[in-house]
């Protein structure tokens, strides 16, 4: 477009139209002239008007109009009409553009795609509604616009799912916004309802759902929102990738056998963990027991021996009997990632050398029993009459009314844990094996040595992933260069400029469903699930809103440019002229 007094937007090629119009006009004019009827001149004039009207409809002329501003208000889905009306009233010269799939606004013009945003850099003054999707935000170098959110979405606004292990109790955490649209959130597994929680109206309230998966693999659960009558108002798929849990290598060091350790050892051995136990029979004489592992213990504790284990459980008697070099070896191994748990047979304050190994303070308490809630039941256990003083470095694993009963501190790459409950094995005798497992499993899991993996892959795109939208990933490597494939397609990776061994990449998935990432030379698959558009709307909207809020407001003192805007002449004018002229041509013979 240039500074012309008239512009044309023809439907077809102008040359063709001109030729056709001229030829047709000449032909019809000659025919009209030949007819022996009244109003010859008027008929010819009407004919010319008809052809001109038709030409106007085809050529679509436009006249220029000056505007003082190039500012744009971009309407995205779920915008409030009142907000836009107010903006237009305040800033009448705003250009209203609409994102694809947004609701039609009276004077708005749709962008053909988000790629058009590149040409509108710096001109976007307002974004109204749910905001631009993340990949569209990336197209804007300067995110200087005022973002005005739209109607709040009712539903689940955030979901967090930890890594899921088979047969492990897993917690899904999330937040929801509810204005009485629903009253129950239900988690549904392939077998049926797994867990449900009653919710009250509110904004960004949190909730938790628990489940225990039974089988390794990728499964599609569902999260349902139900109203008070039990009808489902919204249902979305929840992909759960369940992995096999890696078994632990555990070493027990004891002065003499105790029922507590015996039951714990048997419990772990039944679950196929590799167990090694050492009891002392006499000075320098030991009894070794191995379950699911090959015999490899020696009398001396050293770093080479401890490197083969993930966790060492020792009682305070053994700890005191360890030599200095053995204690140093133990500490060194913990520094390198080994986990250690100390079981107290005596009051902690009476254990020599404990403070240097486990730097926590204890204080006396009156109660020698404690009630612990496990799976909705209360169990009473005897406990040492000294308790840990609260300390920021102490991570609690089992507690009761603020009293830490089991926990750990970090030491290098490893952890040193402690357990003051004296007799937990009666739970097994009473047949409450699940409660026993719930008491011990979290502690052993958190304290045991972490399994080293060469590459750690994280999906850093927030919110649900959709088809044909980018999925950003981050890879932490332990030193090797990663080669990543997404569904057998190689993904180019870029290493962080400042941080070595931190790689990033982007992938797109065309189809909804399960997809996988795999590193070259590694058989492990990292699964991701791609949703269909329309699923998890409220979660998506919440993430999008959050990202758009990070934009900077537009600088108001920026000079507004004067631009020419060509407005097409309304086709109605040409149509009315056409009808009138054609009407006269029809009427003329009858007059």
């Amino acid at each position: 477009m240039s500074d012309r007094w008239l512009a044309f937007y023809p439907i077809f090629s102008p040359a063709v139209i001109v030729v056709v119009v001229v030829l047709v006009t000449i032909a019809f004019a000659w025919m009209e002239w030949s007819r022996k009827l009244r109003f010859r001149i008027w008929r010819i004039v009407s004919l010319m008007v008809v052809m001109l009207s038709l030409s106007g409809l085809i050529f679509r002329p436009a006249v220029p109009r000056k505007k003082n501003s190039s500012a744009i208000v971009l309407l995205t889905s779920n915008y409030r009409t009142q907000t836009v009306d107010s903006l237009v009233r305040l800033f009448p010269e705003l250009t209203i553009l609409q994102a694809p799939e947004s609701e039609k606004y009276n004077k708005g013009e749709y962008l053909p795609s988000f790629h058009s945003l590149t040409a509108l850099q710096g001109n976007i003054r307002f974004v109204v509604g749910d905001g631009l999707p993340l990949h569209a935000l990336d197209l804007l170098n300067e995110k200087e616009f005022d973002y005005i959110p739209g109607h709040p979405h009712e539903g689940i606004s955030e979901l967090t799912l930890p890594p899921v292990m088979v047969n492990a109790l897993t917690t899904i955490q999330g937040t929801y916004t509810n204005h009485r649209k629903f009253s129950t959130i239900t988690l549904r597994s392939p077998a049926g309802d797994e867990d449900a929680v009653q919710v009250s109206p509110g904004i960004n309230h949190s909730f938790e759902l628990l489940f225990t998966p039974k089988q390794v693999g990728n499964f599609l659960y569902h999260v349902q929102l139900k109203d008070s009558s039990g009808s489902i108002v919204e249902e979305n798929p929840l992909p759960i990738s369940i992995t096999e849990a890696k078994k632990l290598n555990i070493l027990f060091l004891q002065h003499f056998p105790t029922a507590e350790v015996r039951y714990l050892k048997n419990f772990l051995a039944e679950q196929n963990h590799a167990i090694a136990v050492r009891y002392q029979l006499s000075k320098g004489t030991y009894r070794y027991e191995f379950a699911n592992s090959s015999p490899r213990l020696t009398d001396k504790i050293n770093t080479a021996l401890l490197a083969a284990f993930d966790l060492v459980i020792l009682d305070t008697d053994v700890f005191q009997s360890l030599s200095v070099s053995e204690k140093n070896s133990l500490k060194e191994s913990i520094d390198q990632g080994l986990g250690a748990i100390v079981l107290f047979h005596d009051l902690p304050s009476k254990i020599n050398g404990l403070k240097s190994f486990l730097p926590v303070s204890f204080t006396k308490v009156k109660q020698d029993t404690v009630a612990v809630h496990i799976r909705g039941y209360t169990h009473v256990f005897p406990v040492t009459s000294e308790t840990i003083l609260p300390n920021r470095s102490v991570q609690s694993v089992v507690d009761s009314k603020g009293r830490i009963l089991a926990g750990y501190i970090h030491h290098g790459f490893g952890k040193i844990g402690f357990q003051v409950l004296q007799e937990t094995y009666p739970l097994i005798i009473q047949g409450k094996k699940d409660s026993y497992a719930m008491l011990w499993a979290p502690m052993l899991t958190q304290i045991a040595r972490n399994e080293k993996v060469p590459f750690q892959l994280n999906v850093i795109t927030e919110g649900p992933l959709y088809t044909n939208e980018p999925v950003d990933i981050e890879i932490l490597s332990s030193g090797n260069q990663p080669f990543l494939f997404a569904d057998s397609v190689r993904i180019p990776l870029a290493e962080d400029v400042l941080l070595d061994d931190r790689w990033s990449g982007r992938a797109w998935f065309e189809n909804a469903g399960w997809h996988s990432f795999q590193f070259s030379g590694d058989s492990t698959l990292h699964h991701v699930y791609i949703f269909n558009p329309g699923e998890w709307e409220s979660w998506r909207a919440n993430v999008q809103t959050k990202m758009n809020r990070l934009s900077h407001p537009h600088h108001r003192d920026k000079e507004m440019e004067t631009v020419l805007d060509y407005r097409p002449i309304s086709a109605w004018y040409f149509f009315i002229l056409l009808v009138c002229a054609a009407g006269f041509l029809w009427l003329a013979p009858k007059l």
Binding site: Q215, A245, Y288, D434, W440, Q456, L499
Partner: protein, 748 residues
């Protein structure tokens, strides 16, 4: 014909036309009814609703048509005639007018057309569609009949109830089967006659014999019944009939399998056989408590009534009675089997048996006990079910030798259970005070009084050690002075001391502190037997306790009086200090009254510390024990199939490859073992698996079938105990650097 006749005939034409129109409307309504009825039938709507609705609509339709009919009048007929018959020159309406109302021209016209009308009135035909209506009715009747022919009733009324039909198998018969009859023959002892059922899913008594008699369409078909533990080949009988019988003692599932003459291997759906076991009889003994104690003066015959019930029949019942005589090591037992006196013969589903147990005729004497239980048998063949009740105890008290240790006050017997200690009274008093706010006044007072009574009983109990009950009096007493009797060691005086070699090991006897001086009273006479007699009825001379203990006991009794006083006065708070002091005194008394005896038995030599832990350890070696837990994943095929089902479910279109089908078949075999225990839960899934394998499911129902199978597979897997596991982490160099710097900070 006169002109008046013209009016008459016009009227007649009108009436005839109306009648014909009514008939036409009826035909249309009837056609509407049949068509609507047929449509509703094909849509599967129930009979009564169908009929009522159709009739209502037909009536409404008729009313609608009839409304138009009754608007037909002469003027409309005239209009029609004028239109239809031009020779009437649009003047037929003149025929309805009287001559005097017409002018001459009209009269002339009237007379002119009258002649025409007269000649042609008989041939006047008004528009009618009787033929069309009749044709429509025929068509709708045809549609109705066709609908009847193909209609499949969904209501139960179409099936005869309570009439086991030999041909009416509930489940769809497989295509190759023309007829199937199942006869159940329960065991003879159940007294149930053989019967036929109309369902392939069977529920039969234990031990019943089941006979399948099936007629296939082709005589050459080889048929079998496949069960988890057996395969039955159906034997050919006459007329294309195959038959087989088998008896069942436990639940199972089965399916038919046959090979057609084309060599095709076909299988039917899965069916369940649920076996109802023969339960043992139940015995209820009425009106006798498990423990009965009788005195000799009581009625010594007990009426025993037992209600015996069985699902089929009780055949025998009796009482096993054991009499125990004597006590201690000389106890003797004698067992007897007693029959019920009523009825004479125990037989039937429910029997009320009675017998009177005469203890004397059984030989019971005072001090003896009778134990008995009732045993019953049912009529199960070959081994009857047997059951017995719990044991009932009847003891005949021996009042002559009964030990009245509670009142005698010898002080060596154990306190009876109801006897409350001072500590208990204190606890109860404190509780009463704590609950005072929540108790009504009369309840509070009565409880306080009850505690006062307990305190009194305790006081009396302890008072017995000192002799007479009222010895200590009521109210505060002056402290009793110690008597002048020298303290003496009761045990040394009256006991036997043999072993005095190692007296240094003995616990030192407590020396009594002489707080008060002794003063011999003037009137105290010397009795040579004084030192040897036991004077338990004299509080001053009671020799069970030594002197200071007596004083303490006296003081305790005094305090008990005071405590009881305030408890009786409903002031338990004031009684508490007295109770505490009493308890303290009683504790001191019990400590001081302990007697320490020499140790008897083996005295080991003292341990020599210098030789301790110097034993030879050469033969004590380190030992090793190794074990392996076999890790067997339960239901491996179901787990594999679950992955297949999950993948299939996620697809838009359900497609199973031959590998997938093979996996599903193996999973089905595993599921069959579960179906044996829970047929109601898994039998449908087995059928779905089979149908999925054989591609017998409609495409639009495939997704639902996959969902159902997936659900049941998931339910079949057991929930395992949570297990610890190793978390993953990456050894990024930055982490190591961070840890190193953290450690350096710690060391600084």
């Amino acid at each position: 014909m006169k002109s008046i006749d013209a009016q008459y005939y016009l009227k007649k034409i009108k009436q005839q036309h109306r009648l014909r129109k009514v008939v036409e409307a009826l035909l249309y309504s009837a056609a509407f009814f049949f068509a609507l009825y047929a449509l509703l039938q094909l849509l599967g709507i129930a009979n009564t609703h169908q009929l009522v609705f159709s009739v209502s609509c037909a009536v409404l339709f008729f009313v609608f048509l009839g409304y138009k009919i009754f608007h037909i009048n002469e003027s409309r007929i005239i209009n029609f005639i004028n239109h239809r018959y031009p020779f009437l020159e649009e003047s037929a309406d003149l025929l309805l007018q009287e001559d005097q109302n017409l002018n001459s021209l009209q009269r002339l016209q009237k007379s002119k057309i009258f002649e025409q009308f007269k000649a042609t009135y008989k041939s006047i035909r008004l528009p009618l569609k009787l033929g069309q209506a009749a044709g429509l009715l025929c068509v709708s009747i045809l549609i109705f009949l066709i609908a009847q022919r193909f209609y499949s009733p969904t209501s139960e009324h179409s099936m005869a109830k309570d009439q086991p039909s030999t041909e009416n198998i509930k489940h769809h018969l497989p295509v190759a089967m023309e007829r199937a009859t199942i006869t159940i023959s329960p065991p003879t002892y159940t007294l149930i006659r053989p019967y036929t059922v109309n369902d392939f899913n069977l529920s039969i008594p234990e031990g019943s014999s089941v006979t399948w008699s099936i007629t296939f369409s082709d005589s050459s078909i080889q048929a079998q019944i496949i069960m988890p533990d057996d395969t039955l080949v159906l034997r050919h009988q006459k007329n294309n009939n195959v038959e087989i019988s088998r008896s069942f003692n436990k639940s199972s599932i089965y399916q038919f399998r046959w090979i057609t003459k084309n060599g095709m291997d076909r299988t039917s759906d899965f069916y369940s056989i649920s076996v109802t076991p023969d339960k043992p009889p139940s015995i209820v003994v009425q009106d006798i408590s498990p423990f009965t104690s009788l005195a000799l003066s009581d009625k010594l015959s007990i009426s025993l009534t037992s209600v015996l019930q069985d699902d089929y029949s009780v055949t025998d019942a009796y009482i096993i009675a054991t009499v125990s005589k004597g006590s201690g090591e000389s106890v003797k037992f004698r067992e007897e089997k007693l029959r019920f006196s009523q009825p004479e013969k125990i037989v039937g589903k429910e029997v009320k048996a009675k017998r009177t147990l005469d203890l004397l005729s059984l030989g019971l004497e005072p001090g003896d006990e009778l134990y008995f239980y009732v045993e019953a048998l049912d009529n199960k063949v070959p081994i009857a079910n047997r059951i017995r009740t719990e044991t009932y105890f009847i003891s005949l008290q021996d009042t002559a030798s009964e030990n009245s240790g509670v009142e005698a006050g010898l002080g060596v017997d154990l306190l009876p259970d109801y006897f409350r200690s001072q500590r208990q009274i204190i606890i109860d008093t404190e509780k009463l005070l704590k609950d005072k706010k929540f108790l009504m006044k009369n309840v509070f007072n009565s409880t306080s009084n009850a505690l006062g009574h307990d305190q009194k009983v305790l006081r009396l109990r302890y008072g017995q050690f000192l002799g007479e009950e009222f010895e200590s009096g009521i109210g505060p007493q002056a402290k009793a002075t110690e008597e002048e009797h020298p303290e003496e060691d009761v045990t040394k005086k009256f006991g036997h001391t043999h072993d005095t070699e190692k007296e240094h090991n003995l616990v030192e006897e407590k020396k009594e502190k002489d707080d008060h001086g002794h003063q011999h009273t003037a009137d105290q006479s010397e009795n040579p037997l004084e030192g040897f007699i036991h004077e338990h009825d004299n509080a001053e001379e009671a020799t069970f306790f030594i002197q200071s203990i007596k004083l303490k006991l006296k003081a305790a009794l005094t305090l008990m009086w005071d405590a009881e006083l305030y408890l009786r006065l409903y002031e338990p708070a004031k009684s508490l200090p007295y109770q505490y002091q009493t308890l303290k005194l009683l504790k001191e008394i019990s400590n001081e009254s302990r007697i320490y005896v020499h140790r008897t038995g083996f005295d080991p030599p003292p341990v020599k510390e210098d030789k301790r832990l110097t034993g030879e350890l050469t033969n004590v070696k380190s030992t090793r024990a190794q074990s392996t837990t076999e890790s067997q994943l339960d239901y491996p095929e179901i787990r594999r199939a679950l992955s297949v089902m999950e993948h299939t479910y996620a697809q838009k279109e359900v497609k199973l490859s031959s590998t997938d089908k093979a996996i599903l078949q193996k999973a089905g075999n595993e599921l069959a073992t579960l179906a044996l225990e829970h047929p109601e839960k898994y039998l449908t899934t087995l059928s779905l698996l089979k149908a999925l394998h054989d591609d017998e499911i409609n495409p639009e129902k495939l997704k639902d079938a996959v969902r159902e199978i997936r659900k049941n597979f998931w339910e079949a897997l057991p929930v395992k105990t949570p297990s610890p596991y190793a978390l993953e982490s990456n050894g990024h160099p930055l982490n190591q650097l961070f840890m190193k710097q953290l450690n350096d900070l710690n060391h600084e």
